[in-house]
């Protein structure tokens, strides 16, 4: 009986295949339409590849010193030159990729889990949960980011793990705030009310209804903070915190090259610095590109 006329409703003339195919197709569409994002994806793939195979393709032992060939400018034998101890800069830059990448990934993953869950809980439940988590965030945010990271690593001791922990802590408020804000907006959204009427339990609403809708924003945030995480870690090494020489790491290499730049030996600082810059640049571009892909509103 109630098969009413539906011609009155303007039907968007888009036909959808399965979601996975749609996502792939959409990704391809975005990449084709946006060269910059495509380049970012390419660079990202190269970084991941180097992080995996870096130690095998490095032409020299990155920590082997040989003072007879110290401070040589780039040449056919040493593409990126040699440092003050005669180590091959190219090999060191390549090998360092893995360490910097691991620091970035693990700190971001840690803060994503902690900040995301805390933020969603604060935003959805409000009240005391919110007050405690917000107060914690506020206190962390009362410190300039890098300064607090310095203080934490200085107190915990110089190690890679502590760099990861410090980076996660200083980024906590960022994630918690975003997750809190998004969860708070959706707390009274129509679809959440409807889910309550449909008999969904609170955990189901949090993880089945709200979390998937916050994911895209968190993903974009994650990609953007990857860049900060690398910068932060490199900055800490640059001031002598965290990674210790002779371990190859971009920040430390720039620091080692710093005193030679005023005498014209630019290659020691330039190549690791450029590697660092490209990595951060890639993550930032990726963040922008990712937003276009995961945002369902902009899918056509």
């Amino acid at each position: 009986m109630t098969t009413l006329d539906i011609k009155a409703d303007a039907t968007p003339s888009v036909r959808r295949p399965t979601p996975v195919v749609a996502l792939l197709r959409h990704t391809r569409y975005v990449l084709a339409g946006n060269l910059v994002t495509a380049v970012a994806f390419g660079l990202f793939a190269i970084i991941v590849l180097l992080a995996i195979i870096g130690p095998w393709i490095a032409p020299y032992n990155p920590t082997a010193t040989n003072t007879t060939i110290a401070l040589q400018a780039p040449s056919a034998a040493h593409w990126f030159g040699t440092d003050n101890l005669g180590r091959d800069v190219l090999s060191r830059v390549l090998v360092a990729t893995r360490l910097d990448f691991i620091i970035a990934i693990s700190s971001v993953a840690l803060v994503f889990a902690l900040g995301g869950i805390a933020g969603i809980a604060a935003g959805y439940f409000g009240g005391w949960t919110d007050r405690i988590i917000s107060r914690l965030s506020d206190t962390i945010m009362a410190f300039p980011i890098f300064v607090l990271a310095m203080g934490i690593v200085a107190a915990l001791g110089n190690s890679v793990t502590n760099i990861v922990i410090a980076t996660a802590i200083v980024n906590f408020p960022l994630y918690a705030r975003i997750a809190r804000g998004e969860a708070n907006v959706r707390r009274n959204a129509g679809f959440v009310q409807a889910a309550k009427l449909s008999g969904n339990s609170t955990p189901r609403i949090l993880f089945g209804q709200i979390l998937p809708n916050i994911m895209p924003i968190m993903m974009v945030q994650m990609s953007l903070t990857m860049g900060y995480a690398i910068l932060n870690a490199a900055g800490l090494s640059f001031v002598g915190l965290g990674v210790r020489p002779p371990t190859p790491e971009w920040g430390i290499m720039v620091a080692e090259g710093a005193s030679y730049i005023i005498t014209g030996e630019w290659w020691m600082a330039l190549f690791p610095g450029a590697a660092l810059m490209i990595a951060v640049f890639t993550f930032n571009l990726l963040g922008d590109g990712l937003r276009d892909i995961v945002d369902p509103q902009r899918r056509t």
Binding site: T2, T3, L4, I6, A194, N213
Partner: protein
């Protein structure tokens, strides 16, 4: 209403106007080859549903299309000058001084961080209508003309300190400050309460008539347009389908689209079926009559109260002397009692802030009550905390259709997944995949949603389709009581007519009862057996639908009814 003067050249003459927009999918024609003329002193209504190009037309006249849009052809002649070819610099002298505009959503139309008096002065100074000597005086004078009480004080107010109706008066003041010849009003009362709408429209009519101005009223509401305009232009998908005198348009619509619009406009003295277009299969079917059996009511609300702690206003207590009297809590719902019988549809009507939505949220047990009882089928459910009601066996028997169909669907769920969500959570545990799919298809059929749309995500559906998904979800577990919270407020009028019929048929078929929450008395009158009128948290009147609408006893109800536009039928 004055008859247009035909022997003079028109004040505004739009010929063959075409407006195009550059979009990601190529050029889209928003307005194609339209002709409109407005005589001096005439009021012309442009009526159409969303996407008809009615607002774009007015932006083209003002030449304030956004950067993607352009006038692709035609002329816009305003007192002999072609505006479509005018330079941007000379257009600036026309805007505000010769032609001005008032907008929908008045609060957003004003600069939020500039005093309203200064905003009026900006316009006066721009068009050299006042010098720095007398600009203050003139601005206050204009505030007086739009009936702003205590204008000297309001001059210094910011938009956020004023009510919606007051903001619209300021926007009107801005528009009339420089004595223009033509006023374009773009949905000036959409979003305002019906009594405010009446006051604003009457002010516009009075002020423009006193100045001998011409007016273009752009609206989706055919009733509003025909009440206040001399002539009406009906637009559909960027084209003009009909131009008619407003006195005759309801009686004798010429074009099928106009006929559909006229039909779909709720008005007194018609039935639900009359809303549907002529060729609609449902049109000639009888309206199912559902017997309301005697006996205990399904829902019985007694002395229901909801209080919210009031935000402290004014200076807060100092750090040391913190003892001050706590403010009394704000009573959103102030001790109301009513009943809903089995099989009955009860309308809950009132203006924004009257407490009707709060009431519906309490009855649905989405928010806690402050005091009072809600008896459902004889069982008091007011005491069950909202957070625990999810686990109550009664949960599945009280469902709701939400106001905004887009916002009430999870953007990550397909239509089908959304519909079966209640069954997955509260249905019989034995349901297997096939049974679920069958049930989903059956629900889709019930609400008239094509089965191939079930795999789509909300953003791939139209407003009407989303509304159907929301309804299907609400009826998935055969509830006894469904609360309809302004279910058609976000829909175009032609879609509204279909959804209203659908809701009514479903009720009879499934034997449900409705509590219909709405601001629109006409719509409520069509669907409801009884009507409850609320104002400031209290019930001012309740009774049979016909009685309340035709012989209201409360002064407030009469005021509400009088404020609804009365098109010349």
């Amino acid at each position: 209403m004055t008859a247009p003067i035909h022997d003079q050249p028109p004040l505004l003459d739009i010929r063959d106007l075409t407006v195009e927009f550059a979009t990601r999918r190529g050029t889209v024609t928003a307005v194609s080859a339209i002709d409109i003329s407005v005589a001096k002193g005439e009021t012309v209504g442009i009526v159409g549903e969303s996407g008809s190009g009615k607002s774009v037309t007015s932006y083209a006249v003002m030449r304030i299309l956004d950067r993607a849009g352009r006038i692709a052809g035609g002329t816009i002649t305003f007192s002999g000058i072609d505006l479509s070819a005018a330079t941007e610099r000379s257009m600036r002298d026309f805007r505000g001084r010769e032609i001005s505009m008032i907008f929908q959503n008045p609060r957003a139309a004003l600069n939020p961080i500039r005093k309203v008096g200064h905003q009026i002065e900006d316009i006066l100074r721009q068009h050299v209508q006042a010098s720095s000597m007398d600009v203050l005086e003139k601005a206050i004078d204009i505030l007086k003309q739009v009936r702003i009480a205590r204008p000297e004080e309001r001059y210094n107010a910011y938009p956020f300190e004023l009510s919606g109706g007051m903001c619209q008066r300021i926007v009107i003041a801005l528009a009339l400050a420089c004595q223009p010849q033509l006023l374009i009003a773009d949905e000036p009362t959409t979003g305002l309460d019906v009594t405010t709408q009446k006051a604003v429209m009457e002010l516009v009519v009075e002020l423009t008539r006193a100045r001998g101005m011409s007016t273009i009223l752009i609206t989706h509401d055919l009733g509003l347009a025909s009440t206040y305009c001399d002539r009406i232009v009906v637009m559909e998908k960027g084209r003009i389908v009909e131009t008619a005198q407003s006195a005759t348009i309801f009686r004798d619509p010429a074009h099928p689209y106009t006929r559909k619009l006229v039909r779909a406009t709720p008005r007194p003295g018609i039935s639900l079926r009359d809303l549907l277009p002529d060729d609609h299969p449902q049109r000639n079917m009888p309206i199912p009559v559902q017997a309301v059996p005697e006996g205990a009511p399904l829902l019985e609300v007694e002395n229901l109260v909801k209080e919210y702690p009031r935000q402290q206003s004014g200076p807060k207590p100092g750090f040391l002397k913190r003892k001050t009297e706590p403010l009394p809590a704000f009573r959103a719902v102030d001790g109301i009692s009513f009943k809903v019988m089995r099989g009955e549809t009860v309308g809950l009507v009132g203006e924004s802030g009257c407490g009707k939505s709060t009431t519906s949220m309490m009855v649905t047990r989405l928010i806690d009550t402050t005091s009072g009882t809600i008896r459902f089928n004889g069982e008091d459910i007011a005491g069950i905390p909202a957070a625990q009601f999810t686990r109550s066996p009664l949960r599945r028997r009280i469902q709701m259709v939400f106001q905004d169909p887009s916002e009430s669907l999870n953007p990550r769920y397909t239509a089908g997944r959304a519909i079966i969500d209640p069954i997955l959570r509260m249905g019989e545990t034995t349901t297997d995949r096939d049974a679920l799919a069958d049930r989903c298809a059956e629900l889709a059929r019930l609400v008239g949603l094509p089965a191939d749309l079930l795999d789509r995500f909300p953003h791939q559906l139209s407003g009407g389709q989303k509304a159907r998904v929301g309804i299907a979800r609400a009826i998935a577990l055969n509830p006894d009581l469904v609360i309809l919270d302004e279910p058609t407020a976000a829909l175009d009028v032609s879609v509204q007519s279909i959804v209203l019929n659908l809701l009514n048929d479903l009720k009879a078929e499934l034997g449900m009862s409705y509590l219909f929450v709405s601001h629109d008395l006409h719509v409520v009158g069509l669907l409801c057996d009884r009507i409850i009128v609320m104002n400031t948290g209290r019930i001012v009147e309740q009774g049979n639908a016909a009685d309340v609408l035709e012989r209201p006893t409360a002064a407030y109800t009469s005021e509400l009814i009088a404020a609804i536009p009365h098109p010349p039928v």
